[in-house]
């Protein structure tokens, strides 16, 4: 109990900061049309490469400056957040459902289902993930649903491996044996007894996976393979910033800071959840 309160105290500022940033970014993304100071797509060559507000030559209303087409950077970041969060939630949830289901089956039943699923995981682990993602999106065609599907197809193994190991150790525990003696079927035991016990690991992984999904989406946008090129995404802003890095550093700096804060927050959140639920750490 003492250690729990110590761990709790050590974690909470991090948890609050991480949660605070994610909530802020999420709200900004949801209410983007109300908050964004400019139209994120409006080009104005008279306003190209305006610096952020504290530098000479800045224009009021363009807080973080503009890119080489005169588009407002802050508005593009706010609208880019929409894509980032949709991908984060949808892709991570899909990967989680697929991976957890297969992991539970492999870990609880063992035998040939386990052997087949483990072989598939081995094959998946032998692919370079970024190359796999790029390949899948190229095959599926660019677009939001392709990006989400590609991430789910690649990253389900993360869930599968952890849940399989958890389910395996849970399946050997006494309470599962008692349930079996009490006459519950295998499926019933798995859903009723084993699943709730592996849930903490799933939730923690889910948070980590959301951060990963945001990065993968940014990488895909960076190589110009994500959603349509019109809609701003954090990755496409970064790609633009990489090109004009010597003329307008802010076009790279601000999306980069946004991305780093978001990824750090998702992983801190996941770590904190894991620490809270992990009986060994608790």
């Amino acid at each position: 109990m003492d250690e729990a309160s110590v761990a709790g105290r050590g974690l909470s500022p991090r948890l609050w900061l991480a949660g605070g940033w994610l909530l802020l970014a999420l709200l900004a993304a949801i209410f983007a049309p109300l908050i964004a100071p400019q139209d994120p797509l409006a080009q104005d060559l008279m306003l190209e490469r305006l610096p952020p507000f504290w530098l000479d030559g800045a224009e009021p209303g363009y807080w973080l400056g503009t890119d080489s087409l005169g588009r407002d950077l802050l508005s593009r970041l706010i609208f880019g957040g929409r894509i980032a969060f949709i991908v984060a939630f949808a892709a991570a949830t899909s990967a989680c459902l697929l991976g957890s289901a297969l992991g539970l089956i492999a870990g609880y039943f063992g035998g040939w289902p386990d052997r087949i699923i483990s072989r598939i995981v081995d094959v998946w682990m032998a692919f370079p993930p970024v190359l796999f993602a790029i390949l899948l999106v190229a095959v599926l065609g660019t677009g939001l649903s392709s990006v989400i599907l590609a991430i789910a197809i690649i990253d389900w193994t993360r869930f599968c491996r952890v849940i399989r190991a958890e389910a395996m150790s849970q399946a050997r525990m006494d309470y599962v044996e008692s349930a079996r003696i009490a006459g519950y079927g295998r499926m019933g035991i798995m859903l009723r007894e084993v699943l709730p016990n592996v849930l903490p690991s799933v939730v923690a992984l889910l948070s980590l996976e959301m951060g990963i999904a945001v990065i993968v989406e940014a990488i895909l946008s960076f190589v110009n393979l994500s959603i349509s090129t019109d809609d701003p995404t954090w990755g496409s802003i970064i790609a633009e910033g990489r090109l004009s890095i010597h003329q307008a550093w802010w076009v790279l700096v601000f999306p980069l800071i946004t991305l780093i804060l978001t990824v750090l927050s998702f992983s801190q959140f996941g770590e904190a959840l894991k620490a809270r639920f992990d009986p060994v750490l608790r």
């Binding site: 032998a126 970024v130 990489r242």
Partner: protein, 335 residues
């Protein structure tokens, strides 16, 4: 026992590779869009299209196509690149050394940084130094190589432009190399001016790849060191008058390194996977950069070849790690 383990692993590895070949083949063949149409000038006749399809074997069933291609692969024939019109294996071997050199330099850096941080942290356990290392490694770990690459581009390409952030070597240099292992060859030929130029290009992408791995090594090795440092024989060494650093370097390190070794092996494959986007970021002419071009050009034979070579690297590294672990671990050696 060890030999048996080796053969079982080898067999699993071959099954995995075959699985990769099947997956990549199926994924690519369900792709919409006709690669042949992109090779021909507009207005090509249907006869031309049919002839080219037959040339690349695209007129047969997908199962036939797979076995024709796979049979070729087994004989070292990976086909011809559609966009570059060259032998795939030749193209891959031309680019692979650049990626291997980058990954090796990154691995060495990760080990150097990670081990130093771990020793520093274990030496001053419980102090502010250790807390600092914990926070730094935690944050470093959470930020992927892609973002580290961008941070480094900003810091050392723009803010303080000391390193090159684009390419593998300065284009105006005359290269006397016989192989594509530029870095290794420049050292062997004692052309340290070229070594320096290569390193100046390689340093930033290598650091981007190394940082997350360095953080993992620091965390895990520090943990193992701290456990070992409480054991009797280490206490004895301390009583004998060795300093804490000497105790760590001479006694504790070799007994704490085994868990870290396994992890480094697995993480090294992640590092190699990371070269794909990091090479793109730094316009480094390696295999990963070529892979992205191949995907964008829908160059099916080239994509297949590159993915297979990456997969081969991954399983070979895992096999090597597994065997090293078995050799070093007495319980497995005599088990």
């Amino acid at each position: 026992m060890l030999l048996q383990r080796f053969f079982v692993r080898l067999l699993t590895m071959l099954v995995t590779l075959f699985g990769v070949a099947v997956v990549v083949f199926v994924v690519i063949r369900v792709a919409p869009g006709d690669p042949i149409a992109m090779m021909l000038p507009p207005g090509a006749s249907n006869d031309d299209i049919a002839r080219l399809r037959a040339l690349y074997g695209l007129d047969k069933s997908i199962v036939q196509q797979f076995f024709i291609w796979f049979g070729g692969v087994l004989h070292g024939n990976f086909g011809t690149s559609i966009s570059l019109r060259q032998d795939v294996l030749g193209l891959v071997f031309n680019r692979l050394p650049a990626t291997l050199e980058l990954a090796t330099v990154a691995l060495l850096m990760a080990i150097a940084i990670g081990v130093t941080a771990a020793i520093l942290g274990a030496r001053s356990r419980g102090s502010a130094v250790e807390a600092g290392i914990d926070i730094a490694s935690g944050a470093t770990l959470s930020i992927p190589d892609f973002l580290w690459g961008l941070v480094l581009i900003l810091l050392f390409g723009v803010l303080v432009p000391v390193f090159d952030i684009s390419g593998r070597v300065s284009p105006q240099l005359d290269l006397p190399f016989a192989t594509q292992f530029y870095l290794a060859e420049s050292i062997l030929r004692l052309r340290f001016d070229l070594t320096w130029d290569l390193l100046k290009h390689m340093l930033m992408p290598a650091v981007a790849l190394a940082l997350p791995l360095a953080a993992i090594i620091a965390q895990l090795l520090k943990q193992s060191l701290k456990e070992v440092l409480d054991l009797d024989y280490v206490v004895l060494a301390r009583v004998k008058g060795f300093s804490e650093t000497q105790v760590i370097l001479r006694e504790a390190l070799k007994n704490a390194v085994l868990p870290t070794l396994t992890l480094v092996g697995v993480q090294f494959t992640f590092l190699i996977g990371g070269t794909v986007i990091v090479e793109r970021l730094f316009s480094y002419e390696g295999l990963g950069n070529m892979a992205i071009d191949a995907v964008i050009d829908r160059d099916l034979p080239l994509i297949q070849g590159i993915v297979l070579v990456f997969a081969l690297l991954f399983v070979l590294i895992n096999l090597a790690v597994d065997m090293t672990y078995a050799l070093l671990n007495p319980r497995l050696r005599h088990g």
